[in-house]
């Protein structure tokens, strides 16, 4: 393909667009290495805020709570969301299908405040002590629909005759799901889990509504600290979060890219070998 010289217009658009997206994050990362206590004044390079973060037990506790909620709610949401997606993709037409699929997708567009409030009312009326478990359940509720959407799109491209072939060869339906269907939709299920996990990780609104004593998540902690003024410590923990997410995304895309390249090479070899 011909390499065209990029025009000034294109370069400018690109720079402006990316600045808009990433400048705030870059500033945050830079200031996390600021030696000065004042957030807006550069006082030289330092990693001391990262060190002090390690001794900030409240922050570490909040991180630990967030991680536990994220993993459990993402796992639960993945199981429920996958089941919902299977029903929607496989059951064909049944009574109330439109209602059912509408209800699964509703939390996608429902304002978080309303979701949080209604869950709070539910927990109060059930006389449920609020804390870790209520946040976990709340996160499962709203993350499940995202998982259902992701898994359903994967199921749409799934060749049903694979399941029929398995059953034809003597494999009962439930075993067929675990040996044939699940390995095939695994990328979708994994993507759904990652999505649910990140949604839980950065949720502030719903967690605030459904929390109780002793269960403070990281976003809640950060938010309450910021109200007392932005400290470089906050910048440091946010930088760590950004780093974790970036590494995760890059690793995932590298793996899938390599698999695709390998697959294409194999297919070319197979075609070349057939004669």
């Amino acid at each position: 393909m011909e390499h065209r010289k990029p025009s000034w217009f294109n370069i400018t658009s690109l720079v402006l667009g990316f600045s808009f997206l990433y400048l705030p994050i870059v500033i945050l990362v830079i200031y996390s290495f600021n030696a000065s206590r004042l957030v807006t004044v550069w006082g030289g390079f330092s990693t001391k805020w990262y060190v002090s973060l390690l001794s900030n037990e409240q922050m570490l506790d909040a991180a630990w709570v967030t991680l536990r909620i994220g993993v459990t709610s993402a796992t639960l949401a993945t199981v429920l969301g996958t089941i919902a997606a299977m029903v929607l993709a496989r059951q064909g037409r049944f009574f109330g299908r439109t209602l059912f699929s509408g209800m699964i997708y509703a939390p996608l567009v429902m304002p978080e405040v309303i979701l949080g409030l209604s869950l709070l009312l539910l927990f109060v009326s059930l006389d449920q002590a609020r804390g870790f478990w209520t946040i976990m359940i709340a996160h499962t509720t709203f993350a499940m629909c995202y998982v259902a959407v992701v898994v359903q799109s994967r199921l749409a491209g799934f060749d049903r005759s694979l399941e029929e072939a398995a059953m034809d060869l003597g494999c009962p339906p439930v075993k067929t799901f675990f040996t044939i269907t699940l390995p095939q939709i695994l990328p979708g299920v994994a993507a759904g889990w990652m999505l649910a996990f990140t949604l839980s990780l950065d949720d502030l609104v719903i967690a605030s509504f459904t929390t109780g004593p002793g269960a403070t998540t990281l976003p809640m902690k950060i938010y309450s600290q910021v109200r007392l003024g932005v400290t470089p410590e906050i910048n440091a923990i946010c930088t760590i979060l950004v780093a974790i997410v970036t590494v995760g995304v890059i690793t995932a895309s590298l793996i899938s890219k390599r698999q695709q390249v390998q697959r294409e090479r194999d297919e070319r070899m197979a075609i070349a070998n057939q004669y």
Binding site: S161, E164, A165, D168, L169, G170, E267, N273
Partner: protein, 383 residues
Amino acid sequence: MAKKPIGPVRRAFAPWEDPSAIPFIEFRNVTKRFGDFVAVDNLSLSIYEREFHALLGGSGCGKTTMMRMLAGFETPTEGQIFLDGQDLAGIPPYRRPVNMMFQSYALFPHMTVEANIAFGLKQDGMPAAEISSRVQEMLRLVKLEQFAKRKPHQLSGGQRQRVALARSLAKRPKVLLLDEPMAALDKKLREETQLELMTLQEDLRMTFLIVTHDQEEAMTVADRISVMDRGHIRQVATPGEIYEMPNSRFVAEFIGDINLFHGKVTQKQSEDAQLYCDLTDSTINIQGAGDVRVGDEVTFAIRPEKVRISLDKPAESNANVIQAEVWDIAYMGDVSIYHIKLAEDEFIRSVVANTTRLVERPITWDDKIWLSWDRDAGVILTN
């Protein structure tokens, strides 16, 4: 009705002619409806052990539905299906002693060739040593020994097809179902595979049921063919009978090329009849006319390769002879198809084998020629 022989045919295997033979697979008044659509309409069919049977028809004729009902993926709305004396109603696909080779092959992408073939055997709880020897046997059978560790996407289309075949044969099913097994192969590979499939079926002494829309494929591989149309079976017979003695216009036109003429029976004496055909404004003599009466309006059908053409009037007096004119010639390499004009916009086709390397044809455009065919060369189709 006793079938008239079509000349001397060597027939080693014909259980359907034996009235005491017990069918191996039996569809008994089977109907399948999808909503308002009737896919299979009150259909009965018997298939015998070790038979290679083909369900042949266009798309939507119900052939695939028949196969899927036998495999257990669809439940008949009415009627029963028996396999080896057992009513299959209520038996789920994973407990039926039949295996299917899918049109898309449906190989498990995350498993190696070996694991694909072993999959069905594992479900039966066969000991590992036995599984591995059976898998080796299957790989040898389809000549893929060196590909055992490959994944399906590392194979060519033809190789995948053979893995699918090996996988469906591994459990030694009572019946092997083949759903358009060669649709994805190119012509040359398809012809080779058809021959391999026939040899395999003879060697394994198994019952094969194939679904296909390709009439040549059905003619090549099958012992008997069921020609299907809109949920009905139009004719069940051997390839030879289907071709030479079609029982209806539909079958005659579906299989191969054929000339059809409208006519009226003017004479009938035992098996011989005379037909008046307005198109040629002549009478046609027919030997073996079957159940027709004087005055019946019928269709006379004759295959193009049975119509001879010559420049001189043929000497034999027994044949039907008509004078006409060459309108067009289609040169196909191995044969030439002559379109011969009988009347305005009415043509008869004659296929002539190109036995010599003549570039100059002895008979060419606008030649006045003689058409002739033997009295027993065509068939009368009522309805």
